[in-house]
């Protein structure tokens, strides 16, 4: 929890639980952005405390609402299943053991309308805050509190400097920068979180750089 007075008197949210409801909406909403909109079908795999108590906390309504793009304070969350049917979203819930992860963790598998399958793993870490741990099988770590750009690229020298200099040219401050890779010279991912929105031309410029495979922009999730 932050130390601002509106973290104390707030957030405004739909109950009953900041971790099991508000956090679940947030993970769903991030998954929606990764999928590029509402998918045709989604499977939720719930782990730990999520698996044990999801019905009583409305975690199921919350996740579906998030996938539909609702925010944690959206009063339609209670009836999200009905909205899902109206939007042609097919969904189901499963319980799973994901091993040694945070007790409130979920794996979301989405079939986008263009046939592409996206997979997101995230944890609700308390107070409505979340941490996304994996996107499309690539290891990541971001909260969705900031505009986030997710880049998969070749593991080559100088690439990080080329990307960050594009941010510098536009005067955009990088709040957090994280890099991950599986092994030397293999696929790598870069995560950049900023204080301000990232303009489309900057995303385009990154996409045009050599050795970049994929760029994904995930806008911040409001309460």
């Amino acid at each position: 929890m932050g130390a601002g007075i509106f973290d104390v008197i707030g957030p405004v949210m739909v109950g009953p639980s900041s971790s099991h409801t508000a956090g679940a909406v947030r993970i769903g909403a991030i998954a929606n952005k990764i999928c590029g909109g509402i998918p045709a079908r989604v499977d939720f795999y719930l782990h730990g405390s999520f698996a044990e108590t999801y019905r009583g906390h409305g975690t199921d309504n919350a996740l579906v609402g998030g996938i539909l793009g609702m925010s944690p304070s959206d009063e339609r969350l209670r009836n999200s299943f009905q909205y899902a049917r109206e939007q042609g979203l097919d969904f189901s819930f499963h319980t799973i053991d994901l091993g040694d992860v945070h007790p409130n963790t979920i794996k979301i598998v989405m079939h986008a309308r263009d046939g592409v399958i996206h997979e997101v793993i995230g944890s609700s870490i308390g107070g409505g805050s979340v941490l996304i741990n994996s996107v499309d099988n690539a290891r990541v770590e971001f909260s969705g509190k900031y505009p986030t750009i997710f880049i998969s690229h070749e593991d080559k020298p100088g690439l990080i400097a080329r990307v960050t200099s594009l941010f510098a040219d536009q005067g955009i401050n990088i709040a957090f920068l994280k890099v991950f890779r599986y092994s030397r010279g293999s696929d790598a991912t870069m995560l950049i979180e900023t204080d301000v929105h990232i303009p489309a031309d900057l995303i385009y410029a990154i996409e045009k750089l050599a050795d970049i495979k994929k760029v994904m922009y995930i806008d911040e999730i409001h309460s």
Binding site: I5, V8, V12, P16, S18, E52, G56, H57
Partner: protein, 289 residues
Amino acid sequence: MFQYNKAAELISLCTSFKMPLPEVIIQAEMEESGMNRDDIWMVMSERFDIMKISIANGVEKELKSKGGLIGGNARKLYLNLNSALSGKTVTKAVSYALAVTEVNASMGKIVASPTAGSSGILPGVLVALAQDYNYPLEKLLEALFIAAGLGRIIAINATLSGAEGGCQAECGSASAMAAASATYLVGGSPEQCFNAAAMALKGLLGLVCDPVAGLVEVPCSKRNATSTANALICADMSIAGIQSFIPFDEVVEAMHRVGQLMSPDLRETARGGCAAVPTALKYEKTMKK
């Protein structure tokens, strides 16, 4: 300039700048967040509006909670207001606190204050006092800023999370925040506000977080009720001149240490306390089917 981490610092800022307590808290938030005064005021005013709406919804409607364990209690108590042993204002505040928890448990919109599980206490106290004593909106919002600044001190020096500190960190903190707000509304000094909060938090020290089946229903809802009455009683004691022997900052320190000593079974895991008795376990079994 206005930074504070302890109640003692906040009170000395009031003295050195000759500024009322809520104003110091607002000035500090302006410094920290970069927001201007009008925007901060507006956000707080919107949050107060949502508190009032959730109370109205909870008292008028018989809401059914997601887990099915609570609902309709706010209305029952409200209808019994005129014959209540503990007096009209206290009973009204308690009924309103129950209302917010019932809205929360039925997937309605609330303001976490400081958490969803303890979201009834502060709105219950403020709205009941507003109705029974006709305080102007400005004064009510000032009282809300005091609650926020006081909660911030607890967040910095201890915790507001049941998983970390037990229910004392949630309902205990909310009760302390509400006690300070109520004390301010009846004309208490900054010292009297924190004195009331110290007594309120002491009264709930050691309270465990033991939600039946892990849900925010039992005993959470009724703990909001008793914590609300606790807040009003401590405000009355402070205004009457009764002193807390332990100052607020040290009570917060004590709460933090008690939380650390608490078994994880008693910190939101639903493995101890009320969550581990036969009635709770029987319910848990039927719910999972």
